[in-house]
């Protein structure tokens, strides 16, 4: 530990003994807190709870797929007699579960739970700021997220079922209660919940952007920012650009549903009558949705990649390879991600010429992604790898990111997409590249910054068990899906046995479900480790991973303002690990350059 580190530490010992406690009541400390560290924890816990719900749902509908239309007690218990008469899941409830599973995992767990947690925790701490630019807005942002979560959960109890039109809620299915039960009150609640969610996300993102631009400590130039911050920063920018478009789509859909407008609907004959809608286009909705939807993939993924960049460098005891190339890739991905949305719509009926354009931009985005993967691998090369659980999850992320990313070459090619679009091939692809990868990033972040959040360590052996079983099961679930997808099996099918064509896929489906159940069960190991360690974990030292970034120079105790004394000043980039000429294999950012020390990177 450095001299300066000790100094800060010593100073806080005097300060906080009598400084902060009397100001906070329970309510201002734990509930309506404006402290970014507490808000981060609130995001995390809410995200974890939503994650439990989302994963549970996937297990339920996976059971239906493996043993179609069989009766299960667990269905009776969890779904009730209405949704699962005699313990057999109803076909529209299958769709409802898939829809809410997708929505929860993408937005509530991997957008709010991941980005909300770590942007809040790390942006002020790593750039050397006392808090977010606006602590109050930050608090509002969390509470809006909380309200939207509650509404989404309430929608599960609607009599006719929650939203069931897929997480993409394409109209007319999502607009017409005659078309599916879930498009009544369930869909209304979905839309309300998402509108609030978007407001929350925008407030959060604006805060992140302003904070990163304005509140960096002395010496923290943009090219000295840890890659985590770069990732959170750009993610927030993408969010600000694209979420409003989803909001507008949702609003127009609300108009169509409730006020009789025809933005997305035209020429509909349903339940024996002609509806009045005329002149709208569902394809317009698809454009609006995917204008957010694709960037959303990167909103989910970039923070995870930022987190792993930091963790891989720290645990390799090596600088991240190609720091500038990594930033350039993030920028390139951010830019390109806004002009590739059409690859979800190659066969939507839009002009095939547009398909060509989107194929081109889509395959372009493979390039910065490839650069990132290669840079991670090179960072490991000749490192001194400390295989902590966070590191394992980061390596796991690179693995699933490659496996899932490669099939993107097929889906991004308009020609090849024709026959695999909307099949299980797609399900395999996006779960690996976005779902599992981002989830690994989230786990990595939790294991790594747990000491920073709670002042205690998580049990590493439970962490290892958690990782290895999860790693095997994740491949076990999603790898076989490529094959059933290439057999032509469409997604969002309640059962694959209604006609004989797919009868030979049944044993694969059973295997997938087994892996899913085992994988989900082992998340209990994580949950136990997490909650147990909050209260009983081993006390953490200030900088357990011997890391360079500023968050490890601040005391763990609850304290508004992060550092008891002066904010540390920054003299170097965050990746001086194993730099020749230093005694320790890490040199924190707040250590001044030695006399004659040279900067060895560009």
């Amino acid at each position: 530990m450095s001299a300066v580190g000790h100094e800060t530490h010593g100073e806080h010992d005097h300060h906080d003994a009598h400084d902060h406690h009397h100001k906070d009541t329970f309510i201002t400390k734990y509930i309506f807190s404006i402290d970014h560290k507490m808000i981060a924890k609130q995001y995390l816990i809410t995200g974890i709870i939503m994650g439990i719900i989302g994963i549970m749902m996937s297990i339920l509908f996976r059971m239906q797929l493996a043993w179609p239309e069989e009766s299960f007690t667990i269905f009776k218990v969890l779904l009730g007699d209405n949704f699962a008469p005699n313990g057999v899941m109803r076909n529209d409830i299958y769709l409802a579960l898939v829809t809410i599973h997708g929505t929860i995992m993408v937005f509530f767990v991997l957008t709010a739970g991941l980005s909300g947690t770590f942007s809040n925790l790390l942006i002020p701490l790593q750039i050397g700021a006392r808090d977010m630019a606006s602590g109050f807005m930050n608090m509002i942002s969390y509470w809006l997220f909380f309200i939207s979560s509650v509404i989404m959960v309430i929608s599960l109890f609607v009599e006719a079922g929650p939203a069931s039109a897929g997480w993409t809620i394409y109209p007319p299915l999502s607009a017409l209660p005659q078309a599916i039960g879930g498009s009544g009150a369930g869909m209304t609640l979905w839309l309300v919940s998402m509108a609030i969610f978007i407001a929350s996300s925008l407030m959060g993102s604006l805060n992140y952007v302003v904070t990163v631009i304005n509140l960096r400590t002395k010496g923290m130039s943009m090219t000295r920012l840890p890659l985590t911050i770069w990732a959170f920063f750009i993610t927030a920018v993408i969010g600000i650009l694209s979420f409003p478009v989803l909001l507008s789509a949702a609003l127009l859909l609300i108009f169509d549903r409730s006020f009789g407008t025809s933005f997305f609907l035209s020429d509909i004959f349903i339940a024996g009558e002609v509806l009045h809608y005329q002149g709208g286009s569902p394809v317009l909705f698809e454009h609006l949705f995917w204008f957010l939807g694709h960037p959303e993939v990167y909103i989910v993924l970039l923070p995870a990649l930022g987190i792993t960049s930091e963790i891989i460098a720290t645990n390799s005891r090596k600088p991240i390879f190609g720091y500038r190339a990594m930033i350039a890739s993030i920028l390139a991905i951010a830019f390109l991600s806004t002009i590739v949305w059409g690859h979800h719509m190659f066969i939507s009926g839009m002009n095939p010429f547009l398909g060509s354009v989107f194929t081109f931009t889509t395959l372009l985005i493979a390039i910065p992604s490839a650069v990132k993967a290669f840079n991670y691998i090179t960072t490991l090369w000749r490192g001194n790898l400390q295989l902590n659980p966070a590191m394992l999850f980061s390596i796991g992320l690179v693995s699933t990111f490659i496996t899932g990313g490669l099939t993107g070459i097929i889906l991004g090619d308009s020609t090849l997409d024709i026959n695999v679009h909307d099949t299980y091939f797609v399900v395999a692809h996006f779960h690996l590249v976005m779902g599992i990868s981002a989830l690994y990033g989230m786990f990595a972040g939790i294991y790594h910054w747990f000491p920073r959040m709670f002042g205690r360590m998580m049990n590493k052996n439970l962490g290892y068990i958690h990782f290895w079983v999860t790693a095997v099961c994740a491949y076990g679930v999603f790898f076989p899906m490529h094959f059933i997808g290439m057999a032509g099996l469409p997604r969002r099918y309640y059962t694959n046995t209604a006609f004989p064509l797919f009868d030979d896929l049944q044993d694969v489906n059973v295997l997938i479900t087994m892996f899913a159940i085992i994988g989900a069960a082992f998340q209990l190991v994580f949950l136990w480790n997490f909650f147990y360690s909050i209260f009983r974990g081993k006390k953490a030292p200030m900088n357990p991973w011997r890391s360079n970034t500023l968050e490890w120079t601040a005391p763990v105790e609850h304290m508004h303002g992060n550092w008891p004394g002066e904010i540390p000043e920054v003299y170097r980039w965050p990746y001086d690990y194993s730099k020749p000429g230093h005694d320790e294999d890490f040199v924190p950012q707040n250590i001044p350059m030695k006399d004659g020390e040279e900067q060895l990177h560009h």
Binding site: R90, A160, G272, G322, R382, D422, M486, N496
Partner: protein, 396 residues
């Protein structure tokens, strides 16, 4: 059966936990004696997990090979359309490329994780950047992807761009509704009559505008018959929500959008009868029939009915979530040689005649318009209704 599987899962789970705790415990025993457990990885952890990383590489490889051997035959086989082989070729090239890159990169990743696992006295090599390397792995994907894009776009243009004026083709409308399909042939004039859902009435379930002269000779059906070797241009319409017309065996798919006509064209090259003699299809069919007869035995033991044996048919599947019975929205597709096809078509009544007869006929009101009932669980009834209404149209 189910309970057995669940028990198997639980047992496996138990064994897995037990084994893993044992492994990790063993690795800790020595360590706890000598140094305090700080929950930070020590050399033993690095060692164990380094080896596991290497083992995981093995797992990925073996699982990949196992999948290909065990499930490779599930993948769609001989394509039945003219552009199909080109599609499959592009797919094969991309797959090989992916396969190679996957093998190499996963090897490097996991091998490095194993090889450079930390040891107390080791020091990492300070290596921050190298423009040359960075350039190499930017340019390689650029070149490879450029090749793929060019081939892909060439194929795409061939498949997707349809010139209505030039093509000597068969025009077929495929009409989607919750939860079934109907088809309409253009008839002798080769032009589909105009249509809008507002014209739906009686047996005119697709809303054809009967005042349009081009509509008179149109012919409707509930099974899609196609002639071998002739370009077929499909015009898709939906009456309610989005659907997607997915012909997996023909490598063809297009969304069906209410309020809009979408299109796709392909040339069938293998008749249904020929396809039934395809070796891969024969294997698949006998495999499926084995599975079905086992299932039937189970069903009969429980007092149910046996399943019908399976014979191969091309199918048109719905592949865009469209409601409760989305999973069963399909239609049989029959490819005949041209003479048989023409014969089949000529035996059908034209729509003009059918409509007139039904208007003059005694019980036109008996014709049911298929309805979607959201409360209805398994919409077998709806599907039957669809079939019935058009069956009436053909038979009267």
């Amino acid at each position: 059966m189910t309970s057995l599987l669940i028990i198997a899962v639980l047992v496996l789970l138990g064994i897995a936990i037990w084994q893993l705790t044992k492994i990790f415990h063993l690795t800790q025993l020595g360590a706890t004696v000598r140094e305090e457990n700080t929950e930070v990885a020590n050399d033993r952890d690095n060692n164990v997990n380094g080896y596991l990383m290497f083992g995981f590489l093995g797992f990925i490889y073996i699982f990949t090979i196992y999948s290909m051997v065990k499930w490779g035959h599930l993948v769609l086989g001989t394509p039945a359309s003219e552009h199909g082989p080109q599609y499959d070729n592009l797919m094969a090239i991309s797959m090989w490329l992916i396969f190679i890159v996957q093998t190499i990169t996963q090897f490097l990743l996991h091998y490095f994780a194993f090889k450079y696992r930390g040891k107390k006295d080791n020091t990492a090599y300070y290596y921050a950047d190298n423009d040359k390397l960075e350039f190499i792995w930017t340019i390689i994907p650029v070149v490879v992807l450029a090749g793929l894009i060019l081939y892909g776009l060439y194929a795409w243009t061939n498949i997707m761009f349809i010139d209505d004026d030039k093509e000597e083709a068969l025009y077929v409308e495929v009409y989607a509704k919750q939860f079934g399909w109907e088809v309409r042939y253009a008839g002798e004039d080769g032009v589909l009559g105009k249509a809008n859902i507002r014209y739906i009435e009686g047996i005119n379930t697709m809303g054809v505008d009967m005042s349009d002269p081009n509509a008179q000779d149109d012919i409707t059906a509930t099974e899609l018959h196609l002639p071998k070797g002739k370009k077929v241009i499909f015009k898709f319409r939906s009456q309610d929500v989005l659907h997607s017309a997915y012909f997996p065996h023909f490598r063809a798919q297009m969304n069906v959008v209410p309020g809009m006509v979408t299109q796709f064209g392909f040339t069938p090259t293998i008749t249904t009868d020929e396809m039934r003699l395809d070796p891969a299809i024969m294997d698949k069919v006998s495999n499926i029939n084995n599975i079905r007869s086992k299932k039937s035995a189970d069903l009969i033991a429980k007092g149910g009915n046996a399943l019908d044996p399976y014979t191969f048919d091309y199918l048109l599947l719905c592949n865009k979530i469209c409601g409760a019975s989305h999973y069963n929205m399909q239609m049989k597709v029959v490819v005949d040689n041209e003479a048989d096809f023409n014969k089949w078509l000529s035996e059908k009544k034209t729509l003009g005649v059918a409509v007139k007869e039904s208007q003059a006929g005694d019980e036109p009101h008996e014709v049911e318009v298929p309805m979607a009932d959201p409360a209805n669980n398994i919409d077998q009834d709806t599907i039957k209704a669809t079939v019935d209404s058009t069956a009436v149209a053909q038979n009267r």
